[in-house]
């Protein structure tokens, strides 16, 4: 064991002790992608899993690499969708991965839970289609001739399996809390909204393989959308999320809009319980990095503009020389030759 590994393990141990109450399986994304989860002992060592998830890990070893990939996919997509906002989905090296932003019932937490459950469903489904997971494979219920007249063929994505596994693995933590917790209800709702975002964007992809590429002969399959599309859909749900509060409905508890004038949310909408902080100043204990030093857009009036992103504190301006490729041309045969161009740009950063 190298000294660095020792130090890292020690640090992880310390954080694990303090953060055990707020474990989060998204930490799987931090694992080195070189190693594979292939032994039951590995499950015991994974940070962020609750006991039920450890058991699921042992029973479904072959699926865990997809779960890890799903976690990575979720974080990358979150960071893309929030790249211009004050909170830009930055991650920590400790648990929980996103800090208190996720443990509080904020709108941001709603997005994180939705994109995470979607990431797992997506990655598992893809692993089915690629043959990586032998226990699922393609969706064999899609076959024969469609009502539109084309032949179903190829590998239709087995989204039912991916969704079911995501429900089993991701939701288990919330269900273990019991149905009475408002936060658990919020998380379950948003997890399901994430999976719905994939289901409602399933599409038919086709290939024409008649003579000379004509569509006289065409085969089609059902496919999950690109994950970027799922991210866009959930970001729009985030922008229109509904603030809710717990209320007794009959003999159980449900989440209802805090403002009675708002129409009730649907299964596909995101819901949140707590208002968000402004994310302006650094608060290490909460996992908020603040916006100091962030690059901003001087000419924009939107959230990425300097006025809003810098929270009125002002910004620095600097001239930066960018080196980039330009004038790329393909030469026969076969290489691409580019030139190096220097470009002087103004860069603005928040004070």
């Amino acid at each position: 064991m190298s000294p660095r590994s020792c130090l890292r393990s020690l640090r992880l141990l310390v954080f694990a002790v303090f953060s055990a109450a707020a474990s989060n399986w998204l930490y799987l994304a931090k694992l080195s992608s070189v190693g594979s989860i292939s032994e039951e002992e590995t499950c015991e060592k994974l940070k962020g899993l609750i006991q039920r998830q450890v058991q699921m890990c042992k029973r479904n070893l072959e699926v865990m690499d997809s779960v890890r990939r799903g976690a990575q996919l979720a974080i990358e997509e979150c960071q893309y969708q929030f790249r211009n906002r004050r909170w830009n989905c930055s991650t920590l090296d400790s648990l929980p991965v996103f800090g208190k932003v996720v443990t509080q019932g904020t709108r941001e937490a709603a997005f994180v839970y939705a994109i995470s459950s979607a990431g797992v469903a997506f990655a598992v489904t893809r692993a089915c289609s690629s043959g990586e997971l032998e226990k699922c494979g393609c969706d064999r219920t899609v076959h024969g001739v469609s009502p539109q007249g084309f032949q179903w063929s190829g590998c239709s994505d087995n989204i039912a399996y991916g969704v079911a596994f995501s429900q089993s693995f991701v939701d288990v933590r919330e269900r273990s809390k019991g149905a009475s917790s408002s936060r658990a209800l919020m998380n379950l709702h948003n997890n399901e909204a994430g999976r719905k975002a994939i289901l409602t964007h399933m599409r038919v992809e086709c290939k024409c393989h008649g003579v000379s590429g004509s569509c006289e002969v065409k085969t089609c399959w059902r496919a999950v959308p690109p994950f970027r599309q799922v991210g866009h859909a959930l970001k729009e749900k985030f922008d229109g999320a509904t603030e809710v509060e717990p209320r007794r409905v009959g003999s159980s508890r449900a989440l209802v809009p805090r403002n009675a004038q708002f129409k009730p949310h649907t299964d596909e909408d995101l819901v949140y319980l707590e208002p968000s902080p402004d994310f302006c100043e650094q608060d290490i204990r909460s996992g908020v990095l603040g916006t100091r030093g962030r690059t901003c857009n001087k000419t924009s009036k939107a959230i990425d503009g300097c006025e809003l992103l810098c929270c009125g504190r002002g910004f620095h301006t600097a001239q930066v020389e960018l080196a980039e490729r330009c004038g790329c041309r393909f030469h026969w045969c076969c290489f691409v030759k580019c030139r190096q161009c220097q470009r002087l740009v103004e860069m603005h950063t928040c004070r």
Partner: protein, 314 residues
């Protein structure tokens, strides 16, 4: 008309160059020395959509990928840029384009088609230039229409780059002149009498017959060919009972010159395909046992097996 189309093609090339220059001029700094995009290095950029089923890899272009095996490079990316995922699928789909190559309708046809069917191994996908696509389409679609084909959706030119880095082979002869189309060209009759080309055409055609011709007349803009005696070499879509009343059409060819039909006293090798309810002629050769190439074809035909691609789509 041909000249007009060529001019448009050249215009496209010129605008590509201008855009490249404009990009260079817009840079505030000065251009420094060239660097090369890496060759055959990590091709992870290809990952998208359905390609996850088979990670992209750089493979040899097989000799029996007739469309592209002599294109000028030896390796290709699989899956290709038309989302063909296996080499069997590439071969099956490419085979129907081989006869078009033999038509020599545009000197860039092979480069254009192979940039998609057998893309070069670079670190990211590079598509053919839009102007090349337009030039090939404008020159070749009239020829394709003689065989009942139209420019397919998968090769629509507006999906290819304009101004961005793209593939085109600069012709050594910049004053390219494509053959005028229409009244002076008759594609099913303008076939090269070479045994290899005839074999490839035989494989690409749906049916083939040895037959004598009773008469040729015009009908609705087509040449209508009425057979006398016929012996099937390859029946394809023709049913036995239809064989008796078979009539062939040279599509859009009412007035085009077909020297093979000048003398109807010979036997002919006829190849074709069925489009809706019409049997279209795709190639005609005089059945000439004295011709060396034709004799060679007859010899090869006896034991030549056309590739079968049935397993591609299960």
């Amino acid at each position: 008309m041909g000249v007009g189309r060529s001019a448009r093609g050249r215009g496209g090339a010129a605008s590509g160059v201008l855009l490249a220059l404009a990009a260079a001029l817009l840079a505030a700094g000065s251009a420094s020395e060239y660097d090369y995009v890496s060759f055959q290095s990590d091709i992870g950029s290809y990952q998208s959509g359905r390609f996850y089923t088979k990670p992209p890899q750089c493979v040899d272009i097989p000799v029996d990928l007739r469309l592209c095996h002599n294109v000028g490079y030896k390796k290709m990316v699989l899956p290709n840029l038309l989302e063909h995922e296996t080499m069997a699928e590439v071969k099956q789909q490419a085979s129907s384009w081989v006869p078009l190559l033999n038509k020599n309708c545009h000197m860039g046809t092979q480069v254009f088609l192979c940039s998609l069917f057998a893309p070069v191994c670079l670190d990211r996908p590079i598509y053919p230039c839009r102007w090349l696509c337009e030039a090939v389409r404008d020159s070749c679609e009239p020829v394709m229409q003689f065989f009942g084909f139209y420019w397919p959706e998968m090769l629509k030119c507006d999906k290819f780059p304009e101004g961005d880095v793209c593939i085109a082979m600069t012709p050594p002869n910049t004053t390219e002149a494509s053959k005028p189309q229409g009244t002076t060209v008759c594609p099913p009759c303008d076939n090269e009498l070479k045994s290899e080309a005839i074999i490839e055409h035989l494989c690409a055609s749906e049916f083939a017959l040895r037959m004598k011709i009773k008469e040729v007349k015009k009908e609705n803009g087509d040449k209508k060919i009425v057979p006398k005696k016929k012996k099937p070499l390859k029946l394809g879509p023709i049913k036995k009972k239809e064989l008796k009343r078979l009539v062939l059409f040279l599509k859009n060819g009412a007035d085009c010159p077909c020297h093979q039909l000048d003398n109807l006293s010979h036997n002919f090798l006829i190849m074709g395909r069925k489009v809706k309810s019409q049997y279209l002629l795709t190639a005609i050769h005089k059945w000439d046992k004295k011709n060396k190439e034709f004799k060679n074809f007859m010899k090869r035909m006896k034991n030549h097996e056309c590739p079968t691609f049935q397993s591609v789509f299960k």
